[in-house]
């Protein structure tokens, strides 16, 4: 029985429980110009608008197969075309359906069905054309790759093979067809590099430049001009010329280069990219059948892999939970923010001022007691605005608007009509309380007072105010313009209106907000510091730093422990560590080595050229019972599991999903770990340390 028949009987028997949003394949005859004959044009359309893009599940694939049956049975056609619905071509496999697969056999059936249907496009007895009119990802790109010719709209906002980002390979023909079309080097950019670089997407012109499409047309009459071009190809008026693909050394070099890149990023922690690399490496010598069969196997293995499950979990978090924060009050309670005050004019304050001005487009006033610092702060913002202008990111009008919005004041009187004032002054409770009291003397009773503290208690900071209910924590991650996470902290007396205003403001700043209880160091820092504490303990026991640095490689974290410490800065790491030590002395001992490092004024254990600074390393030496890499990692993970369990018990966040979201968005922790709790579950660490899994 063919895969197609197997699926038909599975579906007929009701053996597929997942509710699929079916992407229909509508076939319609098109009379091509210049007497080129009739094209059967297949439109992929799931019947919804662009906010619900076309995806491929079994039913949709079978509909496409039906369409191709219909087309293949005719002898009056000159060509077959495929296009999408407005703004969307197709964005790949139906991930919900993938998630519901239960065993490898089923997974392999999905892999084979995609191949068996898509490959028909390249094996009809008339030429096939893909008209990539809009967003195309994964299986959508592969549909196009199976066609003989491709046109692309210059308006395509995103084209990508994001499979490796999620934990899959582009295995419906992608790893075989793409390198053979555009060469291994370009193909690996799309298959490996972009997915591992925060899942970067190509725009239409970039995809065209890589050779993914034969010709590009403007969106205004993309389909008409694509059909005209197709007619010209069919009549011989246009000859499609493609660069010849080098299947010799260049191919192998490209694979080696990409392998080096993936290793550097992941240290083998995620299987998908390596599997994709193997497929591309071998694709140059394989027949189509061999290539597709190898893809089937890879997909079947990966679909059942825990890394993919974690990847899909993480994807769902950033796509859905990040947009609807758990525990946020009703957004109708939010008050409008028409002017913002920033207390302080240091680097952080200036960055915040720029962000607020750019995203909210409201006046932002910086205050400082020192005219020079104030000038410097405002000057920084204006300088950054000029940089944006110079890079063509904003227009000259936008630049003058932004500069006009950001001003400085020596007194807090300028805050009188502000709706939201955020402080970014020295991390000391007394200083912050004083600042808030001064601000309260000027502003309306409803004005939200936000603190960017990374470690101090929001409740305590509010405690001496007349209106403590207006105070929220608004914890950004550095660099604030880049990292998407915003921890929003509810103090004990914070009211819903202030909190709703904070969430609305965070959303307007284009940040993903997570609601956090007022607890020491909140979420990301507490977890990173617990990890650091465990690791520093092993260092002080005598484990060499280079061993420690390798110990977290199996996780594929963005940075090793001491590289991260260098980025954060030892002084800040120590300061937050001390806060946590004060709260939880047993679990967060203060590292003597770190204290010495700070006292020595060292920026870390690395020198700028990433070699170890022997003087700095020496500060940590003296222990006599070194651990192995495995032991270090085991202790670190045990510590994480314990800390997360305690945080959940304390109610720091609503659910383990929020912990993971914070780690993914605030610390760049990878999808294949699902943040961390799915990983702790699947490795048994959660159960061993806490007695239960984080997820049932």
């Amino acid at each position: 029985m063919s895969t197609v028949q197997t699926w038909r009987s599975l579906l007929d028997a009701g053996n597929v429980d997942h509710d699929e949003v079916v992407t229909h394949a509508r076939v319609r005859d098109v009379e091509l110009p210049y007497g080129a004959g009739t094209m059967a044009l297949i439109t992929l359309d799931n019947g919804f608008d662009h906010t619900k893009p076309n995806t491929f599940g079994p039913r949709g694939l079978l509909e496409l197969d039906d369409a191709l049956d219909q087309v293949a049975a005719r002898d009056d056609l000159a060509a077959v075309g495929v296009t999408g619905k407005p703004f969307i071509f197709a964005v790949g496999a139906d991930l919900k359906g993938v998630q519901s697969l239960e065993d490898r056999e089923q997974a392999k059936l999905v892999a084979r069905l995609g191949h068996d249907v898509f490959r028909r496009l390249g094996e009809l007895n008339v030429p096939s054309f893909a008209f990539v009119n809009g967003a195309a990802m994964g299986g959508g790109v592969e549909v196009a790759l199976h066609c003989a010719y491709r046109t692309i709209s210059s308006g395509v906002p995103a084209l990508a093979l994001p499979e490796c980002f999620l934990g899959l390979v582009p295995g419906w023909g992608g790893t075989y067809l793409l390198p053979r079309l555009i060469g291994a080097a370009n193909a690996l950019k799309v298959i490996i590099e972009n997915p591992l670089n925060q899942n970067k997407m190509l725009r239409g012109p970039q995809a065209y430049d890589l050779g993914i499409a034969d010709v590009m047309f403007e969106p205004a009459d993309f389909l008409e001009e694509s059909l005209r071009w197709a007619a010209h190809v069919l009549t011989g008026e246009v000859t499609v010329e493609r660069a010849e693909v080098d299947t010799g050394k260049a191919w192998d070099d490209a694979v080696a280069q990409a392998r080096w890149f993936a290793e550097g990023k992941l240290h083998g922690a995620a299987p998908a990219p390596l599997r994709a690399l193997d497929l591309v490496a071998a694709a140059k010598d394989r027949t189509r059948d061999e290539g597709f069969a190898a893809e089937d196997d890879a997909l079947a293995d990966l679909i059942m892999s825990p890394e993919l499950r974690s990847g899909l979990y993480a994807f769902d978090l950033v796509q859905k939970r990040a947009k609807r924060p758990a525990g946020a009050p009703d957004r109708s309670l939010a008050r409008p923010v028409t002017k913002v005050g920033v207390v302080g004019a240091g680097r952080m304050a200036s960055q915040l001022a720029l962000l607020f001005a750019r995203r909210l487009n409201v006046p932002v006033v910086l205050t400082d007691l020192d005219q020079e610092r104030l000038d410097k702060g405002v000057g920084y913002v204006h300088g950054e605005v000029d940089k944006l202008l110079g890079r063509g990111r904003i227009s000259a009008d936008d630049a003058s608007r932004l500069k006009g919005l950001v001003t400085g004041s020596l007194t807090k009187d300028a805050f009188a009509d502000a709706d939201f004032v955020i402080e970014a002054v020295f991390e000391e409770m007394g200083v912050k309380q004083k600042v808030f009291a001064e601000v309260e003397a000027v502003v309306s009773p409803e004005c939200v007072l936000a603190t960017n503290t990374s470690s101090l208690s929001v409740t305590e900071m509010a405690s001496k105010l007349k209106h403590p209910e207006r105070v929220v924590g608004f914890h950004f991650f550095n660099p604030v313009a880049v990292l998407p996470l915003l921890e929003i902290i509810r103090g004990e007396r914070t009211d819903d209106a202030a909190l709703a205003t904070a969430f609305a403001t965070g959303k307007a700043l284009k940040k993903s907000c997570v609601l956090v209880k007022d607890a020491p160091a909140f979420v990301v820092n507490r977890i990173l510091l617990r990890l650091q504490a465990e690791i520093l303990k092993t260092v002080e026991e005598g484990t060499p730093i280079e061993v420690v640095e390798r110990s977290t490689n199996p996780l594929g974290l963005p940075m090793s422990p001491f590289v991260l410490m260098g980025l954060v800065g030892p002084a800040i790491a120590l300061h937050v560590g001390e806060t946590l030590h004060a709260a939880f002395p047993d679990r967060f001992p203060v590292s003597a080595g770190l204290a010495k490092l700070v006292a020595a004024g060292k920026p870390g254990v690395y020198r700028p050229d990433f070699t170890f600074d022997p003087e700095a390393v020496a500060l940590f030496e003296g222990g006599t019972s070194p651990s192995t890499e495995e032991q270090v990692l085991a202790r670190a993970l045990d510590g994480l599991a314990e800390e997360i369990k305690i945080m959940l018990d304390e109610g720091v966040v609503a659910a383990p999903e929020d912990i993971d979201l914070c780690l993914i968005l605030g610390a760049g922790w990878p999808f294949h770990l699902g943040g961390i709790t799915p990983y702790l579950d699947r490795t048994g660490i959660a159960e061993k340390v806490t007695g239960a899994r984080f997820h049932s």
């Binding site: 076939v27 098109v30 009379e31 110009p33 044009l41 439109t43 205004a220 389909l223 008409e224």
Partner: protein, 400 residues
């Protein structure tokens, strides 16, 4: 400052295939502005020697100027078509003569020296914008008997015309309509219509994307018997039927108009030279007779007679209205000079777009007929008007 009027030429014209209005029509799920955009882009493609920034104006007509025909459609379509933002545009309305008025208006501007090159055209998506959508006639029209109550119902004005000219019978109207269908079928067969059609992508949720490549309204299978059996929806036992009138249609047209010297400088073709134009008003309840006074005015002003006219493209809103014109000028119903490739009864009449269709067809015929010096495009207009444009054939070989 002394000023010399400049000669104005019709450079090139294209249109979308016309569709039938309504939920089953070609363009049921296609926007009106997209039709215009496609026309503008095709004009640019067909005339690559015209730098986009030399377009001084985009005048697009629509009778109903709301929704996808709103937002001052000449400007919005220009932006959507990718013309430089420096190119201005506007919307224009004279109901059925919208596109004709767009051409005469920019032509006036060119002759005056205000423009060198302009794009003019029209659109009507009667499926999305049925005739009379959103109108609010002033009650004084009826209270003071300024117009007859039938004046706003175009079919009724056609019945009124039969009353005024009792010798124009239903049989004559049907026979005229049949010939229009036959002439269009023959013109299609001979490939006369297709060169100026720009294929238009059409989408249907149910059927997917398609491509409109031919006019949808023509009914080459029409017979006299079939026509005779049609109902007369505007009057019991009346004369006007769906068969001897233009239908309700969707479509867009556009053309490039330029100063003759600028066209030469830019290497643009000059398919017709504009000689003069005239608009005239008549009683709104017999609006179909409008082309008669407009044409009379034009001929008189240019000291020529109908005998000097070699080709006439008259819009066929209703057969009776064409016949009234022919009778007035003593032209036979089947005179070969009149609509040689058929007319709106077969091709359709998306109101404000039709004026340029007449010009496109006349321009093609001029190219084939160097023996003809002058041609007319003429049409009747709702609210009681007529418009006529006199064109000279640059291919005319004189007495040779």
């Amino acid at each position: 400052m002394p000023r010399t009027a400049r000669d104005v030429v019709f450079v090139d014209g294209v249109r979308t295939p016309f569709g039938k209005a309504g939920p089953k029509g070609l363009y049921a799920e296609t926007r009106a502005d997209d039709l215009v955009v496609r026309v503008i882009r095709e004009l640019r493609r067909r005339n690559p020697s015209l730098p986009a920034d030399r377009v001084d104006e985009v005048a697009i007509a629509a009778t109903t100027q709301t929704g996808d025909q709103g937002l001052t459609i000449g400007r919005s379509a220009a932006v959507l078509a990718g013309l430089p933002k420096s190119v201005p545009g506007f919307a224009i309305d004279r109901m059925c003569a919208g596109a004709m008025t767009a051409v005469t208006t920019v032509a006036g501007g060119i002759a005056f020296g205000a423009y060198d090159v302009a794009i003019a055209g029209g659109v009507e998506h009667m499926g999305r914008h049925p005739m009379g959508e959103g109108v609010d006639p002033n009650p004084r029209f009826l209270a003071e008997k300024l117009v007859d109550p039938s004046a706003l119902v175009m079919g009724s004005t056609a019945e009124n015309l039969h009353d005024r000219y009792p010798h124009i019978t239903r049989e004559r109207a049907d026979a005229y309509a049949l010939r229009s269908q036959q002439k269009v079928a023959a013109a299609y067969e001979a490939g006369k219509i297709q060169p100026d059609l720009v294929p238009m992508a059409i989408r249907s949720q149910e059927k997917g994307y398609g491509l409109a490549t031919r006019d949808e309204p023509p009914r080459p299978e029409t017979t006299l018997e079939g026509l005779a059996g049609l109902k007369t929806p505007f009057r019991p036992h009346g004369h006007v039927t769906a068969g001897n009138a233009a239908g309700l249609n969707d479509g867009a047209t556009g053309c490039i108009v330029a100063a003759e010297d600028v066209a030469a400088e830019l290497g643009l073709t000059a398919k017709m030279r504009l000689v003069d134009y005239a608009f005239a008003g008549v009683e709104p309840e017999v609006m179909g007779v409008g082309p008669v006074p407009a044409t009379e005015k034009l001929l008189a002003r240019n000291s020529i007679t109908m005998d000097d006219i070699g080709l006439i493209e008259i819009n066929e809103a209703f057969a009776v209205q064409v016949l009234a014109f022919l009778d007035h000028f003593k032209i036979a119903d089947d005179d070969a000079r009149v609509n040689p490739w058929g007319g709106a009864i077969a091709l359709g009449h998306p109101l404000a777009s039709s004026g340029v269709r007449l010009m496109m067809q006349l321009a093609r015929q001029f190219a084939e007929r160097p023996d003809v010096r002058f041609g007319l495009t003429t049409m009747c207009v709702g609210m009681g008007m007529g418009g006529t444009v006199l064109w000279e054939n640059p291919n005319f070989e004189g007495g040779k």
